[in-house]
């Protein structure tokens, strides 16, 4: 066990916060998108920098990844990666309520990523009495080969990250995508402090 491992209580607490946030987020999304949005039970685990590429690659044959940074008070910060597969993309404009010729595919997934990320994290933040700000979402690459290259070429300045993975399903549009929240070391300590405070209040 290292200093960045969550205790069992902390892990349960975080899981519960995420579950509640997912419930509310899917409700808001359903209203906005006018269709049901299912969020699968999330997985929470630690990932080492050198294995980031493997876990991303293993979990989905994503062809496009959109990154968006988030930052709140008390040093809660990280990066959200939204991962898409090619078969997911056919009716995206339709789902978002746009005409297909109004915007490019890149813009569609960037738009959707931003909506998914901010909706979930806003609810999550309000549960821990926090407030999130976001960077502009960026398409890392529309080509997984290049994403792999991109990630593999990085010399990360972190060793360990907390990884929360949530899968979204919009069955009416046969659409899936994965949201992977990555919280770097320094922020894990801060999240642990917040979790401890919440646990103490019970």
């Amino acid at each position: 066990m290292n200093a960045f491992d969550l205790t069992e209580d902390q892990q349960d607490c975080l899981q519960e916060l995420i579950n509640v946030a997912m419930g509310q987020a899917s409700d808001q999304l359903a209203r906005y998108l006018d269709t049901f949005v299912y969020l699968k039970v999330p997985s929470i685990e630690q990932v080492k920098a050198e294995h980031l590429f493997d876990t991303l690659n293993y979990e989905s044959d994503a062809t496009a990844i959109v990154s968006q940074g988030f930052f709140g008070y008390e040093g809660i910060r990280g990066e959200a990666l939204l991962m898409y597969q090619p078969k997911d993309s056919h009716r995206l404009a339709d789902l978002l309520g746009y005409e297909a010729d109004e915007l490019t595919f890149d813009e569609q997934i960037i738009d959707l990523s931003s909506i998914l990320t901010t909706t979930f994290l806003n609810v999550f933040a309000s549960q821990i009495d926090n407030q999130m700000s976001y960077s502009a979402p960026r398409l890392l690459s529309a080509n997984i080969g290049k994403v792999n290259e991109h990630i593999q070429q990085q010399a990360f300045n972190w060793d360990l990250a907390l990884k929360v993975r949530i899968s979204y399903q919009v069955t009416d549009y046969s659409f899936n995508c994965d949201m992977v929240l990555l919280i770097p070391e320094a922020a894990i300590t801060n999240i642990k402090a917040v979790l401890d405070r919440i646990l103490a209040e019970f």
Partner: protein
Amino acid sequence: MLDGLCDKIINRLNTGVLLLDRNFNILMWNRFLAVHANQHDEQVIGKNIFQVFPELPRKWLERKLSSVIQLKNQSFCGWEQRHHLFELAHSRPITTDSDFMAQNCTFLPIEEHGQVTQICILIEDVTDIYHYQTQLKKTLQELALSNRIDGLTQAFNRKHWEECLAAEFSRARRHHSSLALVMLDLDHFKLLNDTHGHQGGDKVLIETAKAINELLRMGDLFGRYGGEEFAVILPNTELSGAEEVAERIRQTIALKAVDYQGQNIGITVSLGVAVLAQQDKRYEDLISRADNALYKAKFSGRNRVSLADAS
């Protein structure tokens, strides 16, 4: 007092600030926008955003803004997807070729009692980033090209040519389409080098490559295989068609005289032709059959086309 100070700061920001009500009427804008849009407050304040900026993609933006109101989420629009939303002048009119300011726009919900009452649009000038990214992209494309080209002859280099062949080979096998390969070698090139020097030899290589290139169709892939050896991939081509191309190359080169320092250098080529056959399991198999045909052409007297044995 702080309010006044904030006003001052907002008006000194190099970021556009635009405040809308829920009906998309403009409540406030800052000096940055007034200056770059070159309009007066009275032409703008209280007016609908689509009236003041008729260039905006109305349907798309209305949907975008409604998502901000409904989800109470901030939303973005970046220059990489849309170069600009607002047609604004920018700060590098002289040293870039951008007509309008490249923009990153952020749409922020302003909440009161849990309801979004206003939307604040922040507009950043990213013309600089746009300009340098575009330059970088262009440079990378040039670099990628020069990585594929043989510097002397401007034909594809060996590495890239082989990659092309590998791709064409698997495509032809997958689609059961035909594929031909012509390998050719300059005759007595060593002698030519000895007589006229390496610069004379280089000139011959350049001129030969140029002449061959002019005979090829779009889609044919021409590369320098080795020192004085060239190769042409002919997709969707049967043996008779490939033989015709090879013969045309042979004749053209034989009739051509390369001028080097006032001397005419005559040159001929020998060619081997092979087409994709069942027995070719790898693209290298096709190369070796074309290569064998080329040696056959050499042995039977040079300046001729020889076909690979039919399988």
